[in-house]
């Protein structure tokens, strides 16, 4: 089926070449970081994880969200998702791959990557994260590919796929739960030390992931004419709405716990993020923007009248993605490090090389996504489904 990715319009090739150029630029910048050290990034002794690990966190959510299509389609036999389930699975593959690349570029000694598996350490959440992410990627590529190939041949998929699909459903929850445990299990980091970290992650994932998928589906429809179907769009929008409500609700719970208990450690990060601490307020405008976007999203999503209007839906989804990205892809990881363990406030500003590398990694993800979606859409159009 790979040959489907080799035949495309000039626009398709233009897009692919543009991505390859970004990848090349990112790789060249990565070489700089590789030979100079992570000092070229904005990370510091106090804020030891930055935009790379933030993107890992965000994209794990995007990957996990594939389950929001797989679950209704395979478990509840919701036929409307038949056309786009494959997109969810392939998006998960690209997202997980991007996640792992973000871990890779974040490592100080990437050449020792295999140590994670050579010296398996069951007490380390990062070890488990590496395991669940790899398995989830494999599951999705195998399931997606096999089912698509069977559809193309017009035969039912082989029987062994069924158990894999059932495994992939809890597995999707596991990848984001384990990723939440990366943060939630650390003593002394009050902002992260919360039992609802995993549910919060899942809620934001199930809102943002399908939102991104829908936005991409709209683009696909415009570019290729591949239509996911009105009903599927409506159902997905409904899922996004509820997930976003849960996400905001969970966030308010955190605010309540921190401020009603009045425990200084629990309040500090929130104060830093939304008002600034000890004269440092680099993230304040971003965090308020995030709240604004989330609010816009909710206002446009909750009333069915707005939601059913496709133009408004696109605005809602875009602001939802922006809002959750700032919240999770910026505030959550960086915020956990402020103030530091010795009550000092250091701020984090990503550097230009760091941003170029980030863009490069995203370009790799988009490249894989493009190839996979090209195949999926071509096959779907070929079989007229």
């Amino acid at each position: 089926m790979l040959e489907k990715a080799l035949h495309g319009s000039e626009k398709y090739w233009g897009w692919v070449v543009a991505l390859l150029a970004l990848i090349g630029l990112g790789f060249a910048t990565y070489l700089l970081q590789y030979f100079q050290g992570l000092g070229v990034t904005g990370m510091s002794r106090d804020i030891s994880w930055g935009i790379y690990i933030s993107q890992l966190t965000y994209l794990v959510g995007v990957a996990a969200s594939g389950v929001m299509l797989v679950l209704p389609y395979y478990l509840h036999d919701y036929k409307e998702f038949g056309k786009i389930t494959i997109l969810g699975e392939f998006m998960a593959v690209a997202a997980v791959m991007t996640c792992m690349l973000f871990v890779l570029v974040d490592l100080g000694q990437p050449m020792r990557l295999l140590n994670i598996f050579l010296y398996p350490t069951p007490n380390s959440i990062l070890f488990w994260d590496a395991v669940v992410l790899n398995v989830y990627m494999l599951l999705n590529i195998v399931i997606g590919w096999t089912v698509l190939q069977a559809q193309r041949k017009d035969v039912p998929p082989p029987k062994w796929v069924k158990p894999l699909i059932y495994i992939s459903i809890p597995w999707a929850f596991s990848i984001h739960t384990v990723t939440a445990f990366l943060y939630a299990g650390l003593p002394g980091r009050h902002f992260w030390l919360t039992a609802i970290m995993a549910p919060r992650f899942l809620a934001s994932a199930f809102a943002a992931g399908p939102a991104i998928l829908l936005l991409i589906a709209f683009i696909l429809r415009k570019v290729t004419g591949f239509d996911p179907g009105r009903k599927a769009i409506g159902a997905l929008a409904k899922i996004i709405t509820y997930a976003m409500i849960a996400n905001v609700f969970f966030f308010l719970l955190e605010i309540f716990t921190a401020f009603y208990s009045n425990i200084p450690g629990h309040k500090h990060t929130f104060i830093y993020l939304f008002a600034g601490l000890e004269g440092h307020h680099g993230l304040v405008p971003f965090m308020w923007a995030s709240q604004f976007f989330s609010l816009v999203a909710l206002v446009l999503l909750i009333p069915p009248r707005f939601r059913h209007n496709e133009k408004l839906l696109i605005v809602a989804l875009a602001s939802l993605v922006l809002g959750t990205w700032i919240d999770k892809g910026l505030g959550l990881v960086v915020g956990g490090f402020v103030p530091n363990m010795l009550e000092h406030v250091t701020e984090y500003i990503p550097t230009v090389p760091e941003l170029i590398i980030t863009v490069g990694v995203y370009a790799i993800g988009l490249f894989v996504l493009t190839i996979l979606f090209k195949i999926a859409v071509s096959v779907k159009q070929e079989i007229g489904g």
Partner: protein, 265 residues
């Protein structure tokens, strides 16, 4: 199968007959464990190493000397930029070191001067728990060690340490002063300890390399008695006696990490 191939294989088959192979054992060398591996003769051996810092004896000179001794002993680079700093033992204000213990009306002497903080060599170290490669691990005698050979530089331990005791080599330490002298040559202060490579995490190791040769930690040696070091499992040790005789506090005891660095009030 054509005739060339058949005859070729036949020749090989005939040659194989009647021949056996006997590997020469000595050439394989090097078994699983290095031969006769043992501690050095004069090594200091303990069951639960701990440090006691006497805040009353902690003068400005003692603090500076201790930090300087450590930096020299371990070839620690000096960075002007706060973000890149490598710190094993360093000065920190009372309120920063003990953020949970903000009593009002504390004795001025206690809170006025900075004190020394370093890795606590916790009994339940969170950094060891989170490390995905066992690059940081706890020895039987309680020292929390770093294996620079194995560290992948993921910095999970830095997020996990509740005391901010860990530093990351954001740059190549060999290109920083004082490891590089005024002439731009690599000129490390200590020949007894390697430098690190960029991209690994490092921290205080209770001078494991000195203990192995029967010496006390460098900071203790330089502290003029303000820093005590010994085996808490031994009731007659200096540290055990000191803790029995005076009131002491530890950093963030509520986290359950059981720090092994005690501060005598």
């Amino acid at each position: 199968m054509d005739s060339t191939r058949r005859s070729f294989l036949k020749i090989l088959g005939v040659t194989a007959a009647g021949l056996t192979v006997r590997p020469s054992a000595d050439a394989w060398a090097l078994g699983a464990k290095p031969r006769g591996a043992a501690p050095l003769d004069n090594a200091l051996v303990g069951k639960r190493w701990a440090m006691v810092i006497d805040l009353q004896k902690l003068t400005d000179k003692v603090r500076k000397d201790a930090v300087e001794a450590c930096n020299r002993a371990h070839n620690i680079p000096h960075y002007e930029n706060h973000d890149d700093e490598i710190k094993w033992i360093w000065e920190e204000g009372y309120h920063n070191a003990f953020p949970g213990q903000h009593n009002h009306h504390l004795p001025v002497e206690l809170t006025r001067d900075p004190l020394l903080v370093l890795c606590n060599h916790c009994e339940n170290p969170p950094c060891v728990r989170v490390c995905p490669t066992k690059a940081t691990f706890q020895r039987e005698d309680g020292i929390v060690m770093m294996d620079y050979h194995r560290c992948i530089g993921c910095r999970f331990c830095m997020a996990g340490c509740p005391y901010g005791s860990r530093s990351f080599n954001f740059w190549d330490p060999r290109k920083q002063p004082p490891l590089v002298n005024e002439k731009g040559e690599f000129d490390p202060p200590s020949p007894d300890y390697p430098t690190r490579m960029r991209g690994v995490v490092e921290k205080c190791n209770f001078c494991a390399e000195r203990l192995a040769k029967g010496k006390l930690p460098a900071c203790v040696e330089a502290s003029n008695g303000a820093l005590l070091f010994g085996d808490l499992a031994d009731h007659e040790s200096e540290v055990a006696k000191a803790l029995r005789s005076r009131y002491s506090i530890r950093r963030k005891p509520d986290l359950g990490t059981e720090p092994q660095v005690y501060y005598l009030i």
